[in-house]
């Protein structure tokens, strides 16, 4: 048989990737250094570079994905080592400058859709490893228009002022009062992982609000939940192991990832080594809690609650069960699930309208779907059932209006992803 050897080579490199990414003391990159390249690949995976730098159906890392921002669409660049359309002519210093300072080789400004406010924390040694890895990619000739923003946002120099207000350059500084594990987690979450890019609210200038770090945000009409240690809507009820399992397998058993987090898990965290996942979990659990106070639940006698309960029994309870307990590993538990009690109910609304699909990983290959039900539930009905879910089985959160559903429906109707 011809391919057995190929397969064992593939397995070998995979095994190398699973080595913890610690030991960043390796000196300068040597492009022939297999260990350095493998480390760079693992770091690029932790940074999930491929997610933004790959167009739908396009060559990996060849760019061309349109990132929607409040200021217009930004096309992601080709970061394969193609000399004309990619970054083949970049030196390691060039990459380090982009990551650390948000600047192009010629000195021009990058937009923070490229999360350099996070990447600035990555060590030079790690950037060099990523550079070494990117040099091994097959060069893809893919020319991407880099000037799609409308006036005045197309003036890159304006980023100079933005940086002055919102950007603090500087690599990660460990906190000597914390454990090495905590610091490792902080380095990954705050740096390459750029978790805050989605999980922290934006200000009017599109910058993460530093004072509300990791307190939840809305991304592409999905709720990126609060991931502080908050009990109401954060990770307060999750153990370190719950977080590790979630990042590794796509689920805790009762919570299943969908939406943009499905991609993050499939492309990135499920391929990261366990010690790094544990470090991230320890950091998230220990760094503190912040969020809105828990409101009083709506009474069962509320009209919206009564309508919602009837809809829930008819439409939802076969899978999620009457008691909101769901089915382990398959249908999320709604009782006590913090996704249901976020300040922003967008995920609940959109997943009922348009459906969704849970992450699939090697550990948990079944990727169940939430069917789209928007075709048969009105805005009022969805508002009622979401309100019911947010205020039943011990859950308590603000009610949802039909207007909120209407606004979201217009934006998310289309095939489930």
């Amino acid at each position: 048989m011809t391919s057995g050897r190929m397969a064992s080579i593939a397995r070998l490199s995979y095994a190398a990737l699973m080595l913890p990414l610690l030991g960043t003391g390796v000196a300068h990159a040597d492009s022939d250094n297999y260990v350095e390249v493998a480390r760079g690949k693992a770091l690029a995976t932790a940074g999930d570079c491929v997610a933004c730098h790959t167009a739908k159906g396009g060559a990996p890392f060849a760019g061309g994905l349109a990132l929607q921002t409040p200021f217009g669409a930004i096309m992601t660049p080709n970061i394969t080592p193609d000399n004309t359309t990619g970054i083949g002519s970049w030196s390691a210093d060039d990459l380090a400058r982009a990551m650390h300072d948000g600047r192009r080789p010629g000195g021009g400004y990058l937009y923070p859709a490229f999360p350099y406010p996070y990447y600035t924390k990555v060590t030079r040694a790690d950037i060099d490893a990523i550079y070494a890895y990117l040099r091994t990619l097959p060069p893809a000739n893919n020319s991407v228009s880099r000037n799609t923003l409308p006036f005045p946002f197309n003036i890159r120099l304006s980023m100079s002022g933005w940086n002055g207000m919102f950007f603090t350059p500087g690599t990660f500084a460990p906190d000597s009062s914390r454990s090495a594990e905590y610091d490792r987690g902080a380095y990954l979450v705050e740096g390459l992982g750029h978790c805050g890019a989605c999980h922290t609210p934006f200000n009017a200038f599109g910058a993460s609000k530093a004072d509300r770090y990791l307190q939840g945000n809305q991304i592409d009409y999905w709720t990126a939940p609060n991931i502080t240690n908050d009990m109401q809507s954060g990770l307060g009820k999750w153990s370190v192991d719950d977080i590790v399992q979630y990042l590794k397998t796509g689920q805790t058993g009762t919570s299943l990832a969908s939406g943009p987090m499905k991609d993050v898990i499939e492309n990135s965290t499920s391929k990261m080594p366990d010690p790094d996942l544990k470090a991230m979990a320890v950091y998230l659990k220990e760094r503190g809690a912040a969020g809105s106070p828990t409101p009083a639940p709506l009474p069962a006698s509320d009209r919206q609650m009564q309508a919602g309960e009837a809809i829930f029994i008819d439409t939802c309870s076969a899978c999620h069960t009457r008691a909101g307990t769901g089915v382990e590993h398959l249908f999320p538990k709604l009782a006590g699930n913090v996704v249901t009690t976020q300040d922003d109910p967008s995920s609940l609304i959109r997943i009922i309208i348009a459906g969704g699909r849970a992450a699939a990983t090697d550990a948990r290959p079944t990727s169940p779907a939430m069917p789209s039900l928007g075709y048969r539930l009105s805005d009022e009905q969805i508002a009622a059932v979401v309100t019911y879910v947010r205020n039943s089985w011990g859950n308590a959160a603000s009610p949802v209006s039909a207007d909120a559903v209407r606004g979201l429906r217009a934006r998310v109707t289309g095939p489930a992803d």
């Binding site: 048989m1 593939a10 089915v327 590993h329 079944t366 779907a369 075709y375």
Partner: protein, 587 residues
Amino acid sequence: MARRLPRKDVVIVGLGWTGSIMALELARTGLEVVAIERGPWRDTAADFNIGTAPDELRYAVRHDVFLRPRQETLTMRNNPSQTALPIRKWGSFLPGNGVGGAGVHWNGQTWRFLPQDFRIRSHMTERYGAGILPEGNFIQDWPVSYDELEPYYDKFEYVAGISGKAGNIKGQIQPGGNPFEGPRSREYPTPPIKQGHSQELFAKAATNMGLHPFPRPSGTLSVAYTNTYGCTMAPCTYCGFCERFGCANYSKSTPQACVLPALVREPTFEARTECEVTKVNLSGDGKTATGVTYVDANGEEWEQPAELVLVCAYALFNVRLMLLSGIGKPYDPASGEGAVGRNYAYQTGTGSTAFFEDVKFNPFAATGSLGMVIDDYNGDNFDHGPHGFVGGAYINNAYTNGRPILYHPTPRGTPNWGSAWKKAVRETYQRVTNVGAQGSVMSYRNNYLDLDPTYKDPLGRPLMRMTFDYQDNERKMANWMADRCDEIAKAMGAKTTQVNRLVGPWSVVPYQTTHNTGGAIIGSDPKTSALNRYLQSWDVSNVFVMGASAFPQNAGYNPTGTVGALAYWALDAIFKYLKSPAPLVQR
């Protein structure tokens, strides 16, 4: 002219139960595997939305997930003196199409055959003398024993998550299970599903009659289950949309639920859907397969070279592909010689419809595998001496569904339309149940498969011709069973009963069962079997043929459990074959 593609290690024809199992297990060893499937890709999330999956008109009436007769059908006749005509609308049986195959739309009833079923010829002859074997029979012992298959039955059941109650664990009879079954190495992976009121009445009546009722082993699951491949299934909701439907609840044991989520992650696996394999290609001396030729959805012809060819289509179409490819000698009923196409068999269905007065059954709260069963009259679990027939049946009381379009039983003599019909439907719907017998069919000289001399498919290839009728032995057996069913129905408290007997020639029109077996059977003698005991072609040693086409005759059970066991049994042999490619049994 077919364009030649790069060589693969393994090409699999058909991506149903056996194809997906083979693909996963072989791809996991690093082999390059391509599965070629003539129907579409099908996935629970994308194709079986809970909001639209229970659509009886689309799926049950209009046959949405089945093979289109226009794409491929077969011709049928009852005996060699007739001229066969094409089946233009599926009736008696419903071949699947697309990824998952018939494993998508089955009911999930998952049985093991009895130990004696595997040596039925020897067993019956030893106990009753050769005179009990029917005239013209081709009954053969299987070349593999129950004990040899037991670990593989177990493997399949734990992949599929089957819900049931063991009756015999390592020789110890277990209360509540089937005391007649062969010894199992362990309990079923999940406990039995819930039963309805009618099944309670059946169990009570059967017990009072000295019979041994137990819950039917079910591929619609009682509880959530994560299988050996890491795939997760949900508890059944008893919606009653199983047979003819894809399950939207992740509750039915299907390739979609049990195998494909793991398979699609394998980097050396590739599926090509809507591609019809037209032929297995052979080397000049005809002893080695070089790959397959197929036609894609655009009508383009491709040659896929491969080291190993696994024929994993539906039983009937496995046989046709062998005949079209020249693998093995076609069976000739005139001379009785030739192996491919012989020993085609089917299943009998008889019983008693029981009408009650003061009950309210809920047939709509059902699953395809719900039911209580007795096995006292199956195989040779009872004395055949006084009856003069071979074979047996399980007798069950089940509701697979109470769906609005096709489920409206009425007493005989009720008009087929109008107010009297409506009144009868209303009065009967919750007051009727059925006690049914699903029986074995032996193999005979004149029941066989070959290529039709007249009719062709759209690609110009001859259709397969089925020559089949029930023989006296089966009629005797099935009608004797109908009387046993009637006894139980009456003991359940039915006010009136109607006995449903096997009369007249076999017809392709009413649905009976999709348990078509044989045609490419395993055996010890290459003159009378197409495959050796490892499901390897006697004639072309790098071709293995999975499925119920391997059964030498059919037992009184649903076939899928045995199909799954044979696949894992063959897989172990294929691993041996790969180390040293050669015939695994010398002819």
